[in-house]
């Protein structure tokens, strides 16, 4: 985001103007970073942002760049390489050349070099673009720029090269640092800054800035970062819309899903329908229903019961046979022991143990069975105990056999529980008939009780078979019911399954709708103010510029306002004409519009945030009246205080104004010989320049002496005329004569004597009195010089010209200094 704008935004958020909840503040801040960050914030993935915690973007002004040289080869009006050397620092440079001299090739070349495009050609047709390479040159087209960048040694060199005959395409801008190392323009942040602060202004742009409201809006919006505010609004809006759409879609789908659930006889359907109808929708309940997980009485229960019924377990025939076989074997084992020593021993042990217990209780010496006296003594007791021990081991075999029979009987009883599983009881509710199974089971239960009795095995086997048959029937019915239900449920479940995750996300997302709406409303309310605050310094500077530029215009600039509504973008310039409101563009002349465009461009391109400390303006003077040119000179002078201002201009008006107003400036003259040989030289004021030219001709070795004799007087006459014009302008404009009148008088003087008449007498028609006044006032040699200049310009002079040039120079300076 534009750093200045970010600063303003943070200030406003911190001031709670208007107040905004914490979570909405978080969203606004996240949205300044982009949609992804906003989404992360909305989903709670990113930690909440606060105004205090935001790291402001680069606040320091970037390292400034000044132009040191622009060199052009094989481009537009320039054939062989020509360089425009500039002093890299603040100051005003005028590049003066006739239309077609090649001067604009420098301005356009620099723009093409730095941006890969040129405003003048951008919207033109192909035919326009075809003449972009110089016709008189067959080598490569090369554009070179040297820039002095703060904090970097040497000049940063930029270069773009195209082969002869290549189509106009951006190509690659190769940058080389002062120390010879490679530099990335991205690293310097220039591509973005070029788009934003565009330090170029062409005549074309000047003219078209007000062609429609959109052009100026775009020109301003980009540098002011107003697009960032729009992007911020758009980001939040898009997030809000997406959520609203999601929410709406969820609602619509809920309706459809409910319709699909109608007629599905499944308690899961009922549960899901209830969850869908709930507000907010109970996604968890739906998810559980889909998973078939449930507590009692909830959707899983019926299906669970059906599934239990479908897989009702009765013992396998093999297991039944095995159990009964085991019982038979156990019984036979036991029966086999009857009448054996083991049985006898067991019986005897019982008897002897009973005898010992009796003896212990009664202590009688006589045998209670046979009556033999004195039989029961210690010997008997010891012998009996010993006999019990011996007999006990014999009897254990019988006990084991009895235990085996009992175990086998249990195994048979355990083949099936005495009561059917709980699911069977529910079968009735599920539309199934558990009757036969229940009857069979009751019979089993009854037989089971009697399982210990002899001959019960057959009855038990019969009961078991009955249960198995009935269970199979019920399980089959349950399975069929299960299938039927699943068949009806599956498509519904699938739809629900597909719908659930996105719907859940959408619903979760929609939870932040309130915050989003708050954030959106806040930004919307703040946007206009932010834009105005951001625009304010530019608007102020533009107004000041206009005040200086307007001069004799009755149009005053009160400010301007940028509006955007959907795709409609407009920049409204508020002007008043003689104090009453007016529509700006209707009442302003072309020259005034140009002046206004310059007024706005200068502060725009001179923002401290721009790394470009130079401004290149191509021909701002066209269609300006002389007074505006004076104003322009002043405005440029101010801009040149802290910026390097390079102005290309096609005539001398701006240069003249700059000299007359003592605006410090460097003037470079551009001329173009045949075959596009372009030359640049530094120009002094016209008087000195013509005198320099005269002296140069005297010294020029290549020039035959007779040619010098014929052209030097012409240059001296030029110098004298220029001196007159300088004096006349300074004097008359200084005393408040209207510009137009002064210019008209100067233009009417077509000969040296008329110029001198204006300079000496303030009127153009006293040419006849000129010579005598010069002779008496400045000396006879000066008068002779005037005569020689006039005559020699036509016929040439004889003899040594040095004295003549010397006298001309002295006189010219005296005239230029005339009060």
């Amino acid at each position: 985001m534009d750093p200045v704008l970010q600063h303003l935004l943070l200030e406003r958020l911190a001031a709670e103007d208007p107040p905004l909840g914490e979570s909405a503040v978080d969203l606004v801040l996240a949205a300044t970073e982009g949609r992804e960050e906003l989404e992360a914030s909305l989903s709670g993935e990113a930690p909440a942002r606060t105004v205090e915690a935001v790291q402001p973007e680069l606040e320091a002004t970037p390292p400034g760049a000044y132009l040191a040289r622009i060199a052009v080869q094989g481009f537009r009006g320039v054939a062989g390489e020509v360089g425009l050397d500039l002093a890299p620092g603040p100051g005003l440079t005028l590049v003066v050349g006739r239309n077609g001299s090649g001067k604009s090739s420098f301005a356009e070349g620099l723009e093409l070099l730095m941006t890969g495009a040129n405003h003048r050609w951008e919207k033109r047709t192909k035919v326009w673009k075809e003449g972009w390479q110089n016709l008189h040159f067959t080598g490569d087209t090369v554009l070179t720029g040297e820039l002095q960048v703060d904090g970097r040694a040497g000049h940063l060199r930029l270069r773009r090269t195209w082969e002869h005959g290549a189509a106009l395409a951006p190509g690659e801008c190769v940058a080389v640092a002062g120390d010879g190392g490679a530099v990335s323009l991205d690293e310097l942040g220039w591509p973005a800054a070029l788009a934003r602060y565009r330090p170029f202004l062409s005549y074309n742009e000047l003219g078209s800035m007000f062609d429609d409201n959109t052009t100026m809006y775009d020109a301003l919006a980009a540098i002011l970062g107003l697009e960032d505010v729009e992007d911020l609004q758009a980001t939040i809006r898009a997030a809000r819309l997406e959520r609203e759409r999601g929410d709406k879609a969820v609602r619509a789908e809920v309706k459809e899903l409910l319709e699909g659930l109608e007629g599905v006889e499944d308690e899961r359907a009922a549960v899901v329908a209830a969850a869908l109808r709930a507000a907010p929708v109970e996604f968890d309940a739906i998810e559980l229903a889909l998973e078939g997980v449930g507590e009692e009485g909830d959707p899983g229960a019926e299906m669970e019961a059906l599934r239990a019924l479908a897989s009702l377990g009765v013992p396998e025939p093999v297991a039944v046979d095995a159990a009964f076989d085991a019982l038979t074997v156990a019984r036979e084992d036991l029966a086999g022991l009857a009448g054996t020593d083991a049985a006898h021993a067991a019986s005897l042990v019982e008897l002897l143990e009973a005898a010992l217990r009796h003896d212990e209780a009664h202590q009688e010496p006589d045998c209670p069975v046979c009556g033999t006296a004195g039989m029961i003594d210690e010997r008997w007791r010891a012998r009996t105990a010993q006999e019990i021990g011996r007999l006990a081991s014999e009897s254990r075999r019988v006990e084991d056999a009895q235990a085996a029979v009992a175990a086998a009987q249990r195994r048979v009883s355990d083949l099936l529980a005495p009561r059917p599983p709980a699911a069977v009881a529910r079968a009735r509710d599920l539309g199934l008939d558990p009757g036969p199974l229940e009857v069979a089971w009751e019979r089993w239960a009854a037989e089971r009780v009697r399982s210990g009795e002899a001959g019960a095995e057959a009855a038990l086997r019969g009961a078991l078979a009955g249960v198995a048959e009935a269970a199979e029937a019920l399980a089959g019915a349950a399975g069929a019911e299960l299938d039927r239900r699943e068949d009806a449920w599956r498509p519904v479940a699938r739809r629900l399954g597909e719908w659930l995750p996105p719907a859940r996300r959408a619903a979760r997302a929609a939870l932040r709708l309130k915050d989003l709406k708050a954030a959106e409303a806040w930004v919307k309310e703040a946007a206009a103010d932010l834009q105005e605050l951001r625009l304010a310094p530019i608007a102020e500077a533009a107004k000041e510029n206009w005040a200086a530029l307007r001069q004799e215009s009755n149009v005053s600039l009160d400010g301007f306002r940028l509006r955007r509504s959907g795709n409609m973008r407009s920049a409204a310039v508020e002007v008043t004409v003689d104090g009453s409101d007016a529509s700006a563009f209707g009442v302003m002349s072309q020259g005034e519009l140009h002046a206004l465009a310059v007024s706005i461009f200068l502060p725009r391109a001179a923002l401290p945030e721009s790394p470009f400390r130079f401004l290149v303006i191509d021909d701002p003077v066209q269609s300006m009246d002389p007074a505006k040119v004076d104003g322009l000179a002043r405005v440029l002078e101010r801009a040149a205080q802290d910026r390097q201002v390079v102005v290309f201009t096609h005539d001398e008006r701006l240069a003249e104004a700059v000299r007359r107003l003592n605006v410090e400036a460097t003037v470079l003259g551009v001329t173009r010989r045949p075959l596009s040989k372009v030359e640049v030289r530094r120009e002094r004021d016209p008087v000195e320049r013509y005198l320099d030219d005269a002296r140069a001709l005297l010294k020029e070795d290549d020039l035959p002496a007779d040619v010098a004799l014929r052209v030097v007087p012409g240059f001296c006459r030029h110098a004298l005329e220029a001196a007159c014009v300088t004096a006349v302008r300074r004097r008359r404009l200084g005393r408040g004569d209207p510009h137009a009148k002064v210019e008209e008088d100067i233009a009417s003087a077509r000969k040296l004597n008329s110029h001198l008449s204006l300079a000496l007498f303030d009127v153009p028609d006293r040419g006849g009195d000129v010579l005598s006044v010069i002779n008496s006032r400045f000396g006879r040699p000066k008068g002779d010089a005037v005569r020689a200049a006039n005559r020699g310009a036509h016929e040439g002079l004889e003899g040594d010209l040095r004295d003549f040039v010397q006298q001309s120079a002295l006189l010219a300076r005296e005239i230029a200094a005339l009060p």
Partner: protein
């Protein structure tokens, strides 16, 4: 110098870059070309109408059609002389003529000089 020499010098100034004439060649060439016209006319008057050369250049140009017997060319010469004269005086804000402009004037002077060679021989 003959008119043809003056014109050739003017052409040379335009066509041959030299550090010493950078920036000044347009006006210097204009001066020479105008002198070519004026010298040419002077030679015509010397042969055909002595005394006319003492008139102003403008007056001489008005006499020209009569002697050239080519009104159209005389008109073009007058126009070329006028534009060259503009470049021979300092006019506020005007920059020197362009190479293309000068070339157009030179072409007129060429035709004038060719015609003068015939006209100097006398009428008929």
């Amino acid at each position: 110098m003959t008119p043809a020499e003056l014109l050739a010098r003017a052409r040379a100034l335009v066509a041959h870059p030299s550090p010493g004439t950078t920036g000044l060649w347009p006006r210097a060439a204009a001066l020479l070309a105008r002198q070519a016209i004026e010298t040419g006319m002077n030679q015509l008057w010397a042969a055909r109408a002595p005394g006319v050369q003492t008139l102003t250049a403008r007056a001489q140009l008005t006499c020209l059609p009569e002697y050239l017997r080519d009104e159209r060319l005389a008109g073009e010469v007058a126009f070329a002389w006028g534009r060259l004269s503009d470049a021979c005086h300092h006019h506020a804000y005007d920059l020197g003529p362009t190479a293309a402009e000068l070339e157009a004037r030179f072409a007129v002077v060429d035709r004038l000089l060719a015609r003068l060679a015939v006209a100097a021989a006398g009428p008929g």
